[in-house]
């Protein structure tokens, strides 16, 4: 079973990710992240530089959305089963009766990235782009794709 949903990027198609190590947020261009010709396994955090599987960089909002959609799918399936059961039990002259009240679905929201104050950087090594909050000269910024300093 596959559940899919869409995340709307900012005006330049950048989507927010969150580092599992330091919790910092950064943005990657959706087309580069999902490029089928260059499949990704791991990402580097542009702030702390540590690396982990790309799925662990999904933001809290994305995880909450995925869980809500999975929960709704489960609720839908349960409602179908119990509705069918109640129909078959509640026949005229039947001895056993069943009251059926469908479970309510969880509210889901539209995932949309706004234009924010991050600065866009391009890696000289792999040409991928990243948007980060950058205080000039305060620290190094690492490329999320190849891990070198930008």
């Amino acid at each position: 079973m596959n559940i899919s949903f869409t995340i709307e990027g900012d005006s330049e198609g950048f989507v927010t990710f969150e580092c599992p190590f330091c919790g910092s947020e950064f943005k990657l261009q959706a087309g580069e992240y999902q490029n089928e010709n260059e499949p990704l396994e791991d990402l580097f955090c542009p702030y702390c530089g540590l690396t982990r599987e790309k799925n662990t960089f999904l933001s809290k909002d994305v995880i909450v959305q995925a869980q809500a959609l999975a929960e709704n799918y489960l609720i839908e399936e349960l409602n179908k089963v119990f509705k069918k059961m109640s129909k078959s039990l509640n026949k005229p002259h039947g001895i056993i009766k069943m009251k059926y009240k469908p479970l309510k679905k969880v509210v889901t929201k539209e995932l949309k990235d706004k234009d924010t104050t991050e600065v866009e950087f391009k890696c000289d090594h792999c040409n991928h782009r990243v948007k980060v909050l950058y205080c000039a000269g305060a620290s190094k910024i690492f490329c999320p794709y190849c891990g070198v300093d930008i």
Binding site: S11, E12, G13, G49, R52, S139, K140
Partner: protein, 280 residues
Amino acid sequence: MITYTELRKISLEFRRLSSNLLRSSRDDSDVSLARFMKYIEATPFIYDAIHNTIDNVDFDFKQCFLIEGTGGHGINIPEDEACHLKAQYDYMIFILSEDKRSVSNEAFKYPHSSNHWSDIIQEFLDDAVKPMIDYINDAISTEMIIIEEEEKKTAPSIVQNIGNNYGTLNAQGTGSIVSTNNTSIVINDINELLSKIILSIDGITDVSNKDRESVKDDLESIQEQINSPEPKKSRMQKALAGIKKFAGDFSMKLAVTLAAGAVTGADWNLLIQKLEQFIS
């Protein structure tokens, strides 16, 4: 003295090893810790960064990592950063050198919020070794910044007086430059973007006619100047300011689908970028 390239390599290798350690599980946490500590010992830059700070510090790691006694373990972080660093370093060496110690066994004795081994180990490593990783990463980054600054200072300075320049200008201190003038390529790119964007203006919804007409005038003014033999910088700057304001005010409404293709916010940004490049 260490070079920038060597530091880049060390930075990447160290971050990879640190990440492997911090995400390790019951099966590989001991070997990840051994590799991590071995790398620190075998890499002179990192070795110096750590040992210059901790070697003269007199602090018993058991004052930070409360591992004695019959109850569970605990952590009491010392105020002094050097003491904290020494405690982490000595504790990791202690875990590796004692036969009956292992990362997973140690981790299990600290308070934990999960029942999964991986979570328990990762929570422990986050508390027990992550500050040392951050310290080393900062030391590497700081050294890279220093080298970058030094390279900037030693780069030859060039003073050039330029009147009107409608092309690309390259300069360097010594040697020769092979330069290809690509102004016509930039003009072609701008013309292409302008034609596409001007056509899309009427399709932008939720924007007043007045604003649409105003930005159209600016775009046409740029088109006229850019194709003139002597483009007027001041007119182009004025028109560019109008285009920038429009793109800023209505950034979310700029995407328009046309029969011939689509205009996106990125097209507007690219046009602004190319115009800035052309004007400067």
